[in-house]
Symmetry: C2
Subunit: 581 residues, 2 copies
């Protein structure tokens, strides 16, 4: 392709509403244009990338034996009412009425539609297992669409749904899909992790998210440096360490710590390390009906090592929903204002419902904690000698951290940020039960089918790839997703016949070798070309100038190379092919 | 592919709401399933066909230098308000409000969106001409969706839009698109005609429709048997024949024709041919404000040869909108009830505004017409001698008919029915003017761009292909659109090892030769397989049985062949390839 036939739409200005790199670069490189909030047109250059993502996904889904279908965007309310989601889904579901005042939505997902199809098409266990997928445009009426195509209102998804006789068959397909997703993300050429995840509102038990790693990612992922273990940090389990508490060596002392309320302040003031300071949090569950005078607040004292963070999701699974207590509530619960509280002699306080302690505090000794008196901390605190620590208080309630042992016992944890672009779920019978999607089993009886579902945000992959691959000059595409693999930049305003002949020959040879080449045949200065090609992220650049004509070489430079190198014309095709392999 | 991995979804029952063959067959063959009125899911088999249509269209559009984009389905009302179509489009425009109560529609077409894109992206005449296209899902809230995907509410279209500095450039691109469409329809393997057409509500002057010919088509097309001439029958011009009127040979006589009101009745009663009877129609234009007592009806007497049909569109272009006069209005205009009226001595009647005669009546002599007296006709009528015929009365107002000379002077007209699946328009500046889509021209001045637009109903092509190609057993696909090109049907329930080995070898060889094969590996009776393969319309069928194993042959039968033929294993690939070429 030539820029004369495939005009670039690069722009200099960074759009005011573009907060993240991928959004800015997708506009600047001319991949997308905004039509309305969260609604984008894909320009030719962007569409080439989108199609590559689609193509890889389609090939791998086909390889996995999934059957491609195309379901409508328009979905009748009746089916969503069958599963109760018409009411539950909330304002993100884009709803409309047709001219006959019938309710429809624009599908954000297709569980209801595929389950309806399956209950009509599938009759016998002999037809199972079966997996359908589609690559299709979806709608979600985001309250605040942002980050370009990363969180838009109209987007392209690959969604797949599998149907099974039993859980065992679901697990087998789920494993195939896990592998298929791994293959897909490997083919994208992106650094990614498959992480164990909560399945959120879609329901079901087992689920994995596929995250493209990027510093700007919304999610933090904990993964092992020695195994496949990876989990959303919200979900990553921290296993109970073996009991290994040093014997007490210091006496309990009440030490003045005037105005030192935070862990950091106390550490600095006392010369202690955060791992040796006890973090004490007071949480509250307020009565549902505050008018009922008999109802009282219930307080929780939560104990963590000073260098650990509370994982609120883990804690809420133990005690239910909670709030952090306000200052006067802390005082009601413990008789002391916050900043100086601790567990010593507090367990029998009125109103204090329960103490919850993270496993890690069990191994602390000679530690520091609040003395329940303003401006004072205890030092040299030891469990049992100075303060109770009941086994039933101990739970996994902290966020896993960098360097923690991996929960699977292999290696240590590294924390990275990721962008969720894929998600596989074991749905079980949530939808098939609600919609009575049954088949006749081997015994001749009706049996509700078991389901899985498997999504990839096709348009999101494009943005995520840019979040992972960019620098101050522009996008850095992996070979597999680049809109063009090679850019040819002719020097001297593409004017001399001798140059044109050579450039055309190189262009022809590379193209005939099946390489996707963008020949910049604009009669513009080299610097202008280079900055455009860097901005749009072409992985391989070939510069052809008069000097090269004499020496029979081109100047090659990879998008992330520091320097260019000379490559003889005769070796060029092989050279590029090697770099694309 | 094997039926075990690609299950067929054929059904016996003809769905109650399926009125036409393609709708019935698409359901029965398992290509689509209805989700709601006019909203369909494409099953795997149907989607394969849809993708083939898409693929051919995409390849040819790319060859023509058009740039593929992907515009959103969600379109903000503001842009439609700029062109006035938000108000004009009517209830077929699917409208909705987002959660912030902003108005959107689901695009049935994208003129506003592309014109908005163009006015932002295109600055200089140097960027012109440029053609963008997309293959995208569209919505039209049909009042009565029917005929399956032929007239549905959600459908796939290829729409393209070109931008130009001037009409000359538009014409050049229009010509390229005309040729591109011709190439596309040829590649589909369908019988089609490009016909001159009215451009309807989209506006603009020159337009052509591309019709797939089928007896069930909604539109009648007139085309020459000796040239490329083709036009929608509504539009086909009938040229004025040379004056060639025989001299009068009979006297004017008033003849009783009691109760004989229609042309057919009069012909039978008088032994006349319809071409020698004058058809006289009375039309009326009623005053806009019927309360205004000064306003009166204006009547038109319209004269046609008895065997010709009025073309109302042609007439309305001459006199504007009109109605057929009611009986009492005819009497007011002519003093005679309908059935016996004629032009003799009527031209100066009060209230009779104007006489309009079709060119063909000019050559009538000794003809029959109503005598303006109940129960009587004149015979032996001759123009000038008995009745005026002014040159200014004469116009082309009739429908062209089978056997008429072609308007381009080459050959005679044949009438066929067609299904409109493509349409190319010269839009001119209708949208660019309304939306101020201008570029800077060579003189440095702002200039409104000239536009063309070019559509193909991708999903409609699938249905149209079936309307053209089917018989009582099912669909007959052309090679290029067939979901699979070859079906292999093994005999004897696919059980003997010897048979399986051979079948697998044939399957492998054909597949490796790049042929798309569906191997029916279901253990079912031959008749069951055959009827499925005929229903889904696979063009080439290979039967392999024990007898063939002995003789080293397969039984080949084309979908429309009367008989099968034996083909040696060794020649099979070449044999099939020749049939696909």
């Amino acid at each position: 392709m030539r820029t004369s036939q495939f005009p670039l739409s690069t722009v200099k200005e960074i759009p005011a509403d573009a907060e993240i790199a991928s959004h800015q670069l997708m506009i600047r490189a001319g991949l997308i244009r905004k039509l309305a909030a969260g609604v984008y047109t894909w320009l030719p250059l962007g569409l080439r990338v989108l199609r590559k993502v689609e193509h890889i996904v389609r090939e791998e889904m086909n390889k996995a034996g999934a059957l491609e279908v195309l379901m409508p965007a328009l979905q009748p309310a009746e089916l969503w009412q069958e599963t109760g989601r018409w009411e539950k889904y909330g304002p993100e579901l884009a709803r409309m009425k047709d001219r006959h005042e019938r309710d429809f939505c624009l599908g954000p997902t297709h569980e209801e539609i595929i389950t309806d199809l399956a209950r009509n098409e599938l009759r016998s266990y002999k037809q199972l297992p079966i997996t359908y997928y589609q690559i299709q445009t979806k709608f979600r009426d985001e309250i605040r669409p942002r980050f370009g195509v990363m969180r838009s209102r109209e987007f392209v998804m690959k969604d797949a749904y599998s149907f099974h006789l039993d859980q065992e068959s679901l697990q087998a397909t789920y494993d195939v899909m896990y592998q298929t997703y791994t293959n897909i993300f490997n083919r994208f050429g992106l650094k990614f992790r498959a992480v164990m995840a909560d399945s959120g509102s879609i329901g079901g038990a087992v689920s994995h998210e596929f995250h493209v790693l990027a510093a700007s990612g919304e999610d933090a992922i904990a993964f092992s440096d020695a195994s496949d273990y990876a989990a959303n940090i919200e979900k990553a389990e921290v296993r109970r360490p073996p009991l290994n508490r040093p014997a007490p060596s210091r006496n309990l002392e009440k030490t003045p710590t005037p105005g030192k309320k935070t862990i950091a302040e106390v550490c600095e003031f006392l010369g202690a390390s955060a791992s040796n300071v006890l973090k004490t949090l007071i949480l509250v569950q307020r009565p549902a009906d505050p008018q009922n005078s008999a109802a009282r607040n219930v307080y929780y004292m939560v104990l963590l090592r000073g260098d650990h963070e509370l994982n609120e999701i883990k804690l809420s699974k133990i005690i239910g929903n909670f709030d952090f207590a306000k200052d006067d509530e802390v005082e009601e619960a413990l008789g002391c204002r916050p900043g100086y509280i601790g567990p010593v002699c507090q367990e029998h306080r009125p109103f204090l419902g329960r103490i919850i302690a993270d496993y890690a505090v069990e191994n602390m000794s000679d530690f520091v904690c609040g003395a329940n008196e303003a401006g004072h901390h205890y030092t040299g605190v030891n469990w049992e000698r100075d303060c109770s620590l009941m086994n039933e208080w101990l739970h996994d309630i902290r966020q896993i951290g960098e360097g923690d042992p991996s929960p699977d016992g292999n290696g240590n944890i590294t924390i990275a940020r990721g962008i969720e672009v894929g998600h596989i779920f074991q749905l079980g019978t949530k939808y098939s039960e609600a919609m009575n999607a049954a088949i006749v089993n081997e015994a001749g009886k009706n049996q509700i089918m078991v389901m899985g579902c498997y999504g990839i945000g096709i348009s999101r992959v494009v943005a995520a790839a840019i979040e992972q691959g960019h620098d101050e000059c522009g996008i850095i595409w992996p070979n597999e997703l680049a809109p063009f693999q090679v850019a040819i930049c002719p020097m001297n305003m593409y004017k001399s016949d001798r140059l044109v002949d050579t450039v055309e020959k190189v262009y022809r040879e590379l193209t005939e070798a099946g390489i996707e080449v963008l020949l910049d045949d604009r009669k513009v200065r080299a610097g202008f070309m280079f900055s455009d090609m860097e901005l749009i992220g072409i992985p391989h650049r070939i510069v052809i100038g008069d000097r090269g004509l004499d020496s029979g070489t081109v100047e090659y430079q990879g998008r992330t190379d520091r320097d260019s190198q000379e490559v003889p014309f005769s070796e060029l095709v092989g050279f590029i092919k090697a770099r694309l392999a």
